[in-house]
């Protein structure tokens, strides 16, 4: 049976084609900017990672394929940095989420002076990590810092916050959570404010308590927003470099030698920009894998 084209089909198709092209024209300026600020550096980084480019040999050729990745992963301290970064990111994100959720829930009940609370909360977020690290470095200075002075005034001996192998890791985690928690609070507070009221009213009619409402309504409805906050923070934490650079330089020993700092050292102390790029791609790969896994878990539960 012959199929005849519907009358007017050609003109509709033409309209769609024209519409698509118009859309592309509108998107072109934005796409050009994205290509320049994201695409070019990314492609250049890929080229660096497979090249022989170092500060002593500033040329891409000859290309060496996977060799830089092999050199980086052969370093015993690379795997230490990978494992440490996974631990660091997990602890900071968990801390930021729990604390952020608690504060967001409290702020959700506040009616008066809400704008002032939010303004105060954004201050740490607006500060550069280097400034934050310098401030905390002075506060935590064991002999002259104000925190140990407060402990001493309370009759307790001060702590070696950044000089003890175990404590230094947790101190950097704490400083990071202090700065980054504001972002999580703001995202979760916005999410809480946008939740519909009807399910809560129905739950109240059914006699559900505050804890039940939180567990069966707030948490499930907040899950997409929470997932976004966690993923953004996970990516942020995996890239942590500034705090380590200012506070500990990766020490004491190798206690705070995170992967970003490892990549920096390869590139700028070791003059091997190619190996630094390879280490950065390893970091990117780990973040991508974790993000996909996390998304799958969230989506399955939905």
């Amino acid at each position: 049976m012959a199929v005849e084209a519907l009358p007017g089909a050609r003109s509709i198709r033409l309209r769609i084609d024209r519409w698509d092209w118009t859309g592309w024209k509108f998107a072109l300026p934005g796409l050009s900017v994205i290509a320049m600020v994201m695409g070019f550096p990314l492609i250049y980084a890929v080229l660096l990672a497979i090249s022989s480019f170092t500060l002593l040999h500033p040329r891409l050729s000859p290309f060496v394929g996977w060799e830089n990745f092999a050199t980086v992963t052969d370093d015993e301290y690379f795997w230490h940095s990978v494992w440490l970064t996974i631990q660091y990111s997990s602890f900071t994100v968990i801390g930021e989420f729990l604390l952020g959720l608690l504060v967001a829930l409290m702020l959700n009940r506040v009616v008066r002076l809400k704008a002032i609370y939010f303004a105060i909360l954004t201050i740490p977020m607006a500060m550069s990590p280097v400034s934050v690290a310098l401030i905390w470095h002075m506060l935590l200075q064991p002999n002259l810092g104000i925190i140990n002075r407060l402990f001493e005034a309370a009759g307790h001996e001060g702590f070696d916050w950044l000089g003890g192998s175990k404590l230094a890791f947790w101190t950097v985690v704490f400083v990071d959570v202090w700065q980054q928690v504001s972002f999580v609070i703001l995202i979760l507070a916005a999410g809480l404010a946008s939740l519909p009221r009807e399910p809560y009213e129905a739950a109240e009619v059914d006699g559900a308590g505050a804890l039940q409402q939180f567990w069966y309504l707030t948490l499930p409805m907040l899950r997409p927003i929470a997932a976004i906050a966690i993923i953004i923070q996970l990516i942020n934490e995996f890239r942590t470099y500034d705090l380590v650079y200012v506070l500990t330089k990766g020490g004491p020993g190798i206690a705070t030698d995170l992967l970003s700092y490892f990549a920096y050292k390869r590139a700028f102390l070791g003059l091997a920009i190619n190996e630094g790029a390879a280490a950065s791609f390893a970091l990117l790969f780990i973040v991508l894998v974790l993000t996909v896994i996390f998304f799958r878990i969230v989506m399955q539960r939905r």
Partner: protein, 242 residues
């Protein structure tokens, strides 16, 4: 001293990297050790090197201030200035900062320079460089400027204004000495100083060495193992630079 006098024996900069590498170098040269011999062969893993690291670790643990493993030059300077440490290993030209009644009233008039025990310390001097890829005209102009600025006359004038001299005749100049009497000791410090290995990967070696020093000082490695690893790291980087 720390327990009885309430003052640390030494303000130590044990932060990993440049601070602890430079500080340890003083211990190494003081104990008679070296990084490289005359043929630039790595000789760090020696009885003297091990002894130096043992002394360094012992001092970090028992003689230094709390938090020495994360301390930098700024931290140690503040401690000395505050009168909370008996000694520190640092650049000789920092003495006028400490011996200043306005800035450091607790210690001004009570501090002096001394060469490291053993007769040698780390020489933290920097040098001028003329890039070989510049044109001959620019290279000549650069050399002319360096000759002028480091010449006897200009060097003396700069020293009188507080700049650190690099010429022995400036250190011994009577005008300079009358203004800065401690330059007599400073000359001994400079003249007896030995250099950290300077090569293409010096910055990376500071990190490699600093990591081993920090691991030993924090008890995560032994001085014996740490000095061996530090020597192996230096050998690898020296080989890479050839």
């Amino acid at each position: 001293m720390k327990k009885q006098g309430g003052v640390s024996g030494a303000a130590m900069q044990g932060q990993r990297g440049d601070p602890n590498s430079m500080e340890f170098s003083n211990y190494l040269f003081s104990a008679g050790g070296q990084y490289l011999d005359q043929n630039r062969k790595v000789v760090l893993d020696s009885p003297q090197g091990k002894k130096a690291l043992e002394l360094y670790v012992d001092n970090i643990k028992n003689g230094a201030q709390q938090g020495a493993l994360s301390a930098t030059l700024d931290d140690t300077f503040r401690l000395m200035c505050d009168g909370k440490a008996f000694s520190m290993v640092t650049y000789w030209w920092m003495l006028p900062q400490l011996d200043n009644k306005e800035k450091c009233p607790n210690v001004a008039g009570k501090v002096a320079l001394a060469v490291m025990p053993g007769g040698h310390g780390e020489s933290g001097g920097w040098g001028w460089a003329i890039p070989k890829n510049e044109s001959p005209e620019l290279q000549e102009a650069a050399w002319k400027f360096i000759s002028w600025v480091q010449g006897q006359k200009m060097s003396t004038e700069r020293a009188l204004q507080g700049h650190a001299p690099v010429r022995s005749d400036t250190f011994e100049n009577s005008q300079v000495l009358s203004k800065y009497p401690f330059y007599k000791d400073a000359l001994n410090v400079v003249a007896s100083g030995k250099s950290f290995p300077i090569f293409a990967y010096t910055a990376q070696y500071e990190d490699v060495l600093g990591r081993q020093l920090s691991l030993a000082a924090s008890g995560e490695s032994t001085p014996d193992k740490a000095i061996k690893e530090a020597a192996t790291g230096l050998e690898k980087l020296m080989k890479k630079s050839q």
